[in-house]
């Protein structure tokens, strides 16, 4: 009985799980059979979740089980068994791959070690023992995900208290992102199985023969640039209006000041235009000739917006900026019309 009482069981189990994790991680490295690798990876990740349980983080441990051990590995095995050819079933790594992997791996390891040492709280052993009540974290986590930080109710700093609204937004963003991935995966799988009527009906030119002319490149570049500008404007505007960019260089401050001085309706309008642009790309792609109208209309609306927005400033920018903008945006359209009139093959006819 006395030897049992003398063992520090926390340390014992920590070492136990840590050894399993590291041992099977090494086993993953040194196995050439890919299914065995997956099996070792399961044990490795499972032992990692054991470490979480040991630390009292039950919810994280369960998450580790559900997402990594359960989901990822089943999918991994799925992928392996569906796609693996003989070459992958027993992989032989060449020397160059070893060198590359060693460099990448050691760099990541260095980063991890550095960052784990950098946290001051972690360098000294925790003085107060972990009580069991610390481990019941699922309700606070759940509440934090739905927007209430019950663990930070006494925050004094008002700037920080605004940030205490929990993790609702990241949670929603991640879930929408996953939904998009899910739908995309389903779409891709269905397209492939049908022999790709959706893709094939529109672009019949093989990839190797497809070359973009100068005008097409210009058009593409223009579209991307305009949309990028719109996006940047939207985000900086939103950031300066609602965010807390208290510090920053003078130029940035000045720029943000300009943006903040813009009328309030401008940003939503730009956002809508951004969406319209995306829609326009689809229209051009599907019903080519109608795209011309859009290509005319959207820059005009944009210019009009800019003119109205800049009306408050007394500098020459009031006139010059919208004009340059108009010229740049209309240039490709003029070129395209010229192309259509001259009868040379346009981007659309080639697409058709």
């Amino acid at each position: 009985m006395i030897p049992l009482a003398m063992i520090n069981w926390h340390t014992f189990f920590f070492l136990f799980f840590a050894l399993i994790t590291c041992g099977f991680a090494l086993a993953v490295l040194f196995t050439s059979n890919i299914v065995r690798m997956a099996f070792y990876l399961t044990l490795c990740l499972g032992a990692a979740s054991g470490l979480f349980f040991l630390a009292g983080a039950e919810f994280i441990g369960a998450m580790q089980f559900m997402i990594y051990v359960g989901g990822t590995l089943v999918l991994l095995i799925f992928g392996v068994m569906l796609t693996a050819q003989q070459r992958f079933i027993s992989m032989e790594t060449s020397a160059s791959e070893w060198v590359l992997a060693a460099i990448v791996g050691s760099a990541l390891l260095l980063l991890l070690v550095r960052s784990s040492v950098a946290v001051e709280d972690w360098t000294e052993p925790r003085t107060s023992p972990v009580t069991l009540a610390d481990s019941k974290t699922s309700s606070p986590i759940g509440l934090a995900l739905s927007g209430i930080r019950v663990d930070k109710l006494e925050e004094e700093n008002p700037a920080l208290r605004d940030g205490m609204s929990g993790y609702l937004l990241p949670f929603v963003i991640v879930s929408v992102h996953l939904l998009v991935v899910l739908i995309g995966a389903g779409y891709m799988a269905r397209t492939k199985r049908r022999g790709g009527p959706i893709v094939a009906s529109r672009v019949s030119i093989p990839t190797t023969e497809r070359r973009f002319s100068f005008f097409e490149k210009t058009g593409l570049f223009k579209g991307m640039a305009i949309n990028a500008i719109l996006a940047v404007l939207c985000f900086t505007g939103l950031a300066s209006k609602y965010g807390s960019l208290a510090e920053g260089s003078n130029a940035l401050q000045k720029g943000l000041g300009y943006v903040a001085a813009l009328p309030p309706w401008l940003l939503p309008t730009l956002g809508v235009l951004f969406a319209v642009n995306v829609l326009l790309m689809y229209v051009v792609f599907s019903w080519q000739k109608w795209g011309v109208i859009g290509l005319f209309l959207v820059p005009l609306i944009q210019t009009w917006c800019l003119c109205t927005a800049l009306a408050g400033y007394e500098s020459p920018t009031t006139v010059v900026v919208p004009l340059i903008f108009l010229a740049v945006t209309l240039l490709p359209v003029v070129m395209l019309i010229g192309l259509i009139c001259s009868g040379r093959p346009s981007a659309w006819s080639r697409m058709e």
């Binding site: 099996f39 369960a62 799925f78 699922s138």
Partner: protein, 452 residues
């Protein structure tokens, strides 16, 4: 339980001290108690799985016989063929353990244990009565689903490692099926969690105490519908007919366990029957009141343990034993229905299995989920009477309460009785603090920070 064993051991040690004159002392946190408690838990749970499998296999034979208008086993062990499974077991032990030439020997040999240990580990989190659970986890329901999902891993490994095309087909089908059916099953489990506001299975069970109208299946029409979706998905996820595509003996010889024989083969069956019982027990906790009988004899007479009560008393113990009987009866009923379905319905094709999941179960589960959320949100009437719920709290609050009381008694050992109510009062406020009403938060902030 560990504390109880330690105090028992300590009492023994003190008695010995009196006789011999030594000075032995065991604290409540001694490792011995934890090890003995873990041993007892594991022993009891293995009994549930192994004896359960023995009984269920016999039961399956009898039920199959009756449904097919014959008697089933009648001779081994007396009148009803009680010992048929035992005879089977002896036969299986005597069989040769063969490993095919093309197999991956290590994975082939490990796969049954992977399957079995996944099914068995989930039992650790399954409460059998109020507070009778091996691992009382605040995320019990979630963890059970996570661990049960690993069972498919053993089947896939078996399918791959056998080096046989029948096994591989079986394994692939199983993987596709289980991965798909986990989606609606997860949705179904979310609804009771949402209604009770906790993932702690003990608390979910306690919240359904009282008359059988308190059971969550009668909470609203959506949960009633949802239970059937859950049961369908559970049947599919434990790979039972009509969803036993992985086995499909008329198409794939024996599916993923074609190459297995002897004891390893029987491990797959223990895993299957174990998880059948597990998902049925989970259904009875989530939807059918768990260990609470239809008429609350013990609760009404005040004999049962109050939720979260730590002190031992005999009537509470008896009430808990009755609770175990209740839970096992409900779970066995579920298993019986699964067998009934198996011997009544023909096996589905793989595309029909997928259609059932993706076109019926998922939309139905989503619809019921929305409906139940709406019902809860609109505070529409339901049979569950709310007075019971005020008493029920999450286990972590109890834990906190216990620790606070212990610390209070440590600091002031002379007057523990006076300190305890203060600690309880301090703990009662976090209920308001965690209720998702933002306006209550500032008032509760002071005590909330202390408790959390």
């Amino acid at each position: 339980m560990a504390n109880f064993i330690n105090s028992l051991l300590n009492a023994i040690a003190l008695t010995i001290n009196e006789w011999v004159g030594s000075t032995m002392y065991l604290s409540n946190e001694n490792a011995v108690g934890y090890l003995v408690a873990a041993g007892i838990h594991i022993f009891l749970l293995i009994q549930v799985v192994a004896v359960g499998a023995l009984v269920f296999i016999w039961m399956e034979r009898k039920i199959a016989g009756r449904i097919q208008d014959r008697l089933g086993p009648t001779r081994v062990g007396g009148k009803f063929g009680w010992l048929q499974t035992l005879a089977d077991g002896i036969k299986l032990i005597a069989k040769e353990d063969v490993c095919p030439k093309d197999a991956d020997p290590m994975l082939f040999k490990l796969a049954p244990y992977v399957s079995f240990s996944a099914g068995f580990s989930a039992y650790m989190l399954l409460p059998f009565a109020n507070g009778w659970v091996a691992v009382a986890s605040a995320v019990g329901a979630f963890l059970i689903v996570a661990i049960l999902g690993l069972e498919v891993f053993g089947v896939i490994l078996a399918g791959y490692a056998s080096g046989s095309k029948w096994s591989l087909f079986g394994g692939m089908r199983e993987a596709a099926q289980v991965v798909s059916y986990e989606v609606p099953m997860g949705m179904c489990i979310v609804v009771p969690i949402m209604i009770c506001g906790t993932m702690d299975l003990v608390t979910i069970g306690n919240m359904q105490a009282g008359l059988f109208t308190n059971w969550l299946v009668f909470h609203d029409p959506f949960t009633f519908l949802l239970f059937w979706v859950y049961f369908t998905c559970a049947t599919a996820s434990v790979n039972r007919a009509p969803f036993d595509l992985a086995e499909a003996e008329s198409e794939l010889v024996a599916g993923f366990h074609t190459e297995y024989s002897g004891l390893r083969w029987s491990f797959f069956f223990m895993a299957e029957y174990g998880s059948m019982f597990l998902v049925s027990a989970l259904a009875s906790i989530l939807f059918f009141g768990g260990w609470n009988g239809p008429i609350p004899i013990f609760e009404a007479s005040g004999l049962a343990y109050a939720p979260g009560e730590a002190d031992w008393h005999l009537t509470g113990f008896i009430a808990n034993c009755a609770g175990v009987v209740n839970l096992i009866l409900k779970a066995v009923l579920g298993v019986t229905v699964m067998m009934w379905v198996r011997w009544t319905l023909p096996r589905l094709r793989i595309d029909q299995v997928m259609t059932t999941c993706l076109k019926y179960c998922v939309p139905l589960a989503a619809f019921c989920f929305l409906g139940a959320v709406g019902w809860k949100l609109a505070a529409l009437p339901s049979f569950n009477h709310q007075s019971m719920k005020a008493d029920v709290r999450e286990s972590w609050i109890y834990q906190q309460q216990r620790i606070a009381a212990e610390e209070a008694s440590k600091t002031a050992p002379a007057t523990p009785a006076e300190v305890k109510p203060v600690a309880q009062a301090a703990i009662a406020t976090p209920i308001q603090a965690i209720s998702p009403v933002a306006t209550q938060l500032p008032e509760a902030s002071v005590s909330g920070e202390n408790a959390l």
